[in-house]
Amino acid sequence: MSDNKNKQADLPRVGFYICHCGSNIAGTIDVVEVSKYVSGLPGVAVSREYKYMCSDPGQEMIAQDIKDHKLERLVVAACSPNLHEETFRKAAAKGGLNPFFFQMVNIREHASWVHTDKGAATQKAMDLARAAVARVRHHQSLEKKRVPVDPNVLVVGGGIAGIHAALTLANAGKKVTLVEREATIGGHMALFDKTFPTLDCAACILTPKMSAVKSHPNIKLWTYSEVEKVEGYVGNYKVKVKRKPRYVNEDLCVGCMECIDACVFKEAKFPDKFNQGLGKRKPVYIDFPQATPKVVLLDPQTCIQLKTGKCKKSCAEVCDRKAFDFEQKEKFEEIQVGAIVLATGFKAYDAKRDHQYGYGRYPGVYTALEIERLVNASGPTSGEVVLRDGKKPKAVGIVHCVGSRDAKSNKWCSRVCCMYSLKLAHLIKEHSDAEVYNFYIDMRTPGKGYEEFYDKLLSEGVHFIRGRVSDVTDWAVTPEEEGRLVMRVEDTLAGFVRRIPVDMVVLSTGLEPQHDAQEVRRRFNIGCGSEGFFQERHPKLAPVNTFTDGIYIAGACQAPRDIPDTVAQAGAAAAEALALIDAGFVELEPNTSHVIEDECSGCKSCIPLCPYSAISFEENKKKAIINEVLCKGCGVCAAACPSGSIRQNLFEDDEIFSEIEGVLAK
């Protein structure tokens, strides 16, 4: 390096490295030029460019240079610090430098990938590099702190994802609490008759897993319960769970269901939610025969005793276990866990929103979930495909993409509808001799055995019409259309519009985020994508992690997905949680704040600002003090201290001011 620069002896010696990232960066930014420019900045002892800084040789080069050139600070211009900050901190440590004497410059996500003007992008890279060089001089030597991890895990949601994650964790010897909002676990999968593409019976493969959950010594199953509040941080979460009253003591009920027969309502007359309203139930009910736990519950909206207090209570009388408790109240329990797996699932699109398909107006229009119950042997019609008036349909039309791929409702492809529509087409054909029409826009069957399944359906003589149905009406033009439902569609492959009369319309509704997904994600402090599904940390490399450490997501709460993918993801989430727990401790970023005692005037301005109550007022000294274990490093107190007496590690005032100065210096 040139002599005159080394004269600035009081400045720490900085090493600067710029990554080509193949052509990802170098294709837009003139890395050689940037490196040359930075080498002329005060204090810079080494400036290099290299093809892949994150590669082993790249890291090795840094470590070697630190030793050879007595580097005191390190700046790497490459991708986002969210990706490789840790990598280069380790490289610094390897060279014997405190890892926090390092600053990363994001010139890929924030420059080369988003700009087209090469000159301007190069200039921006220089600005950002200069800012980092100016900033890194002020960096302090810091250490990460270690906090032990609580080995218990919370799984939220008892669908197939939650069940699988809970079992995996429990089998690995971890204590798991599984919290489910409904009265039984099983989720959407419990509604299905068969599963694509193998057509194996959903109940046959699901119910053994459900009972395994119930009987597993390491799993505490809390159904009819919801998470109220989550506090703490990775490895140390405190969770408050609300347990709703079933009015039946869960420990006493054995699920004999005699109470249901004994109910004063002789006929089941209330819509059965589990059967999508197609069947009826009594105020005392159990969702389905294999419900887990197999415990009845009372519906306070319809139970006479709960509504008026004036019932013979024949249900309670007949119970020899004395399980009924009409006075039961909701209660709250608190648990400590180290990790949380969220598997809260999806909500089916509300078909009423698409007026043109007449759902709710014409009785012959059904949703796919209704058909799932209809073709199910344990469903309201014991598996017979009949219309609401009991007649058998002669023709059935299945409309794909209802509430999917539509800017007016949901823009995304719901991913499972093509396959389940094929499955339903097959089942309807199997359960009746109706003509079946599939109206699709694009047939999407990318999965093991999926295309083969499509092939099978083609051979079964199901009609496939490529086009989005515009409406379903009872407007008849020809005699054969009279008294039937007419579907209008352009047969896009033929190039003209067709009117197809049917008796039953099946709307293949898409998958949406749960109605309370926003509240849930706030409760767990994670993000949602614009469509409302939970946001993964990285779409490819961290698909089950969230931006909050120790909280993992699995299944359709993250995006629409089918059962095989859901189970795979649940396993991955469980493995991530295990990795966290078995490490035994977590290292926390040392970006905490601290009060300089001699400078603090005790004005208390900072105290109410801390969301974690990490700042307290020491009465005898009359100064504020920050508990660094509780501090999560937002820096709001440092920004607000009116006398500048609070410092945030890694984000100190002079670090940021020099970054501002650096980025704007010309």
Partner: protein, 166 residues
Amino acid sequence: MTEKFEPRIVAFFCNWCTYTAADLAGVSRLKYAPNVSVIRVMCSGRVDPQFVLDAFARGADGVLLGGCHPGDCHYAEGNYKTLRRMRMLERMLKAMGIHDGRFRLEWISGAEGEKVRTVINEMTEKVRALGPLDLPGKTLEWDKELKELEAHVNQSAPKEEAVHAR
């Protein structure tokens, strides 16, 4: 040389939402104006109004501040603190003659890569239309009036000049 005016905008993005959104914009290869340089902070609540003023004083033509949507702060409520401060700061900037579009506070969630692009492009155009702010240049201009007397007073004993020029 009459170079076309390219605005220089300094942005403070919170790590969890807006910075992530900017990363997402990158991953999605969205294209936007190269005029904004991002300084990362953990929370928009770390942004001291002094940072904004300092950026202007050091030559920024605009300052953009990005945080999580209200209710979505990674640190529960940091962004509310930001909003309160910045509403006041905006009034102060206005009183000091810094035009409306030069400072902008935006809530951009980690999923809104598209919004990063729109906001940056919009702001760049807005600031471009407003023209350079160039406070460092203005300061030099203002301080020109001090040069004349300096020379006059020092005339009597030019050798002393070195002492004053520290």
